[in-house]
Amino acid sequence: MKGRVGFLFVLPAILVLLALIAYPIVYTVYLSAVDAHGNFTGKNYVNVLAPYVTRQAFFNLIYYVGGSIVFQVILGTLTAILLNLEFWGRSAVRSIALIPWVVPGIVAATTWAWMFHTEFGIINYMLAGAHVIPAPIGWLTNPATVMPTLIAINVWKLFPFVAIMVLAGLQAIPADLYEAAKVDGASFWAEVWHVTLPQVRPVLVAVTLLLVIWGLNGITLIYAITQGGPADLSLITPIQIYQLAFVSFQFNGAAALSVLFFIVAAIIVAVYIRVIPSNLGAAR
């Protein structure tokens, strides 16, 4: 069916998205290039790039996103493989495995902050009780542990998402591939390596890039738990933008940082669009 009718159906949604997405992006670029009086200047970028904290926030972000994704994908895939086996109670375990993903981010943040509490937290108690650690650790205040701890919480929150997506991919694998492998006498792990993984690779690529985007956006956990501390050690760029704009009220500086952040994210999205449409199916 050709013609303009389809376009008319799509138009309202597109207009709303243009107003709420395209316009703000253009406006950000404008804001980043003017001073408080509306005169064009490059100072915002200089002011934002000069301090060491900007670089630190960026590297923290890369560390946070990269570290999270590696474990999210590995644990999520292993979980999916487990949940694809047949065993008693499987459907209940499948439902329970989704819970971390469904729990609101802010709730996950406060609950884990309470569990990681230095003095009264259950985690220090259990680890000390099992003699894994000699003394309570200030997980969220110690410079050496704060980022790994935040990454662990983020992994807990999102590995179920990887698991359900990969599980759906596993279920779509035709059974005769496994039968052929069995005829060839393949072991369980040989099957995983030679049959399963190649078949779910498109899903993994799609999921990984989604995780990158969500990671780049991931303010909630860190903001609610450490607010970027101690001493900016867990500060990431999105939180820096928020603080510049709404704590220091430097809207122009925040806009400049937004533009830089946006460019980095856009490069990743561009890669996504090149690689993914055939995998996501729904894109076309």
């Binding site: 009718v5 998205l17 709420l20 971390p100 709730v107 108690y125 359900i164 279920q171 704009a245």
Partner: protein, 283 residues
């Protein structure tokens, strides 16, 4: 029946291994939730005991009493319902038309528009909070329900369009063609034939949108600074500072916020997971 390692050739050790791994998985997923529930029924002194007690000596509902009657949480609960419901509704109305347009018509620029919608879903939201804030302030929409509903549409609309159009594509077009021959209008076909058939997809979209808005934190932090419109996530973070981190209260408020979404999600789980994963596995 699909999957590696069918049960026929499974050895006893493998069964034990599967059992252990499933138990570990369940414990990892549920432990924080369980600890939240246990902490929410402990009295303050018991929360601050070293070593911590696993089970409360004197279980109490006092924390829930505080949350329900001596805090702003009920108001925030209502705000969350209105805003999440509103944003879900707005996105759904727009998405039904857009999804139908994408699923059933060919028109110039369609691939670009589809890509644009897809990109909307991948947008780094932190990069647009500043201009959105200024824009909303210009229209006096900061600290209003409509302001938050509008910005949440950014999050819900792209995914709603995406999920719903892939669902509509899976419905055979012949039914609609028959109705068109019988003289039904385009809109008549959409509302009398396609939409009823796409109902499971609609439910999936509604659940996903609602839960996403319910959980959203960053936009709420920026655009809802007044008590009259603050949502639960903001209320929760506020609760911890307001009472100098009354952990019992925080945990009770967390329960109040979490239980509805978990129940909602589990009730519609099959439908929802099917809708979300359909796009990723086809094609």
């Amino acid at each position: 029946m699909s999957g590696a390692g069918s049960s026929m050739r499974r050895r006893p050790e493998a069964a034990v291994l599967i059992l252990i791994l499933s138990v570990v998985l369940v414990v990892v997923c549920l432990f924080p939730f369980a600890w939240m529930a246990l902490s929410s029924i402990k009295k303050l002194p018991e929360l601050f005991t070293v070593p911590p007690h696993w089970l409360p000596n004197e279980p109490t509902l006092a924390n829930y009493w505080t949350v329900l009657f001596n805090s702003n949480i009920p108001r925030y609960f209502l705000n969350s319902c209105i805003i999440a419901g509103g944003a879900t509704g707005v996105a759904l109305i727009l998405a039904v038309f857009a999804a139908y347009g994408f699923a059933r018509f060919e028109f110039r620029g369609k691939p670009y528009l589809q890509t644009f919608v897809l990109v909307g879903q991948l947008l780094p939201t932190a990069a647009i909070i500043v201009p959105l804030f200024i824009t909303l302030r210009t229209f006096h929409l900061v600290n209003t329900y409509w302001g938050l509903i509008l910005v949440y549409t950014i999050i819900t609309l792209p995914l709603s369009v995406w999920m719903l159009s892939s669902y509509m594509r899976s419905i055979p077009a012949e039914l609609e063609e028959a109705a068109t021959i019988d003289g039904a209008s385009r809109l008549g076909v959409l509302f009398r034939i396609t939409l009823p058939l796409a109902l499971p997809g609609v439910v999936a979209v509604v659940v996903y949108s609602f839960v996403t808005c319910w959980n959203e934190f960053v936009f709420a932090l920026v655009f809802a600074q007044d008590q009259s419109v603050k949502t639960l996530p903001i209320g929760l973070s506020e609760f911890s500072t307001e009472f100098n981190t009354d952990w019992g209260g925080v945990m009770a408020a967390s329960m109040v916020m979490t239980v509805p979404v978990v129940l909602l999600f589990l009730a519609f789980q099959r439908l929802f997971v099917g809708g979300l994963t359909a796009g990723a596995t086809k094609g």
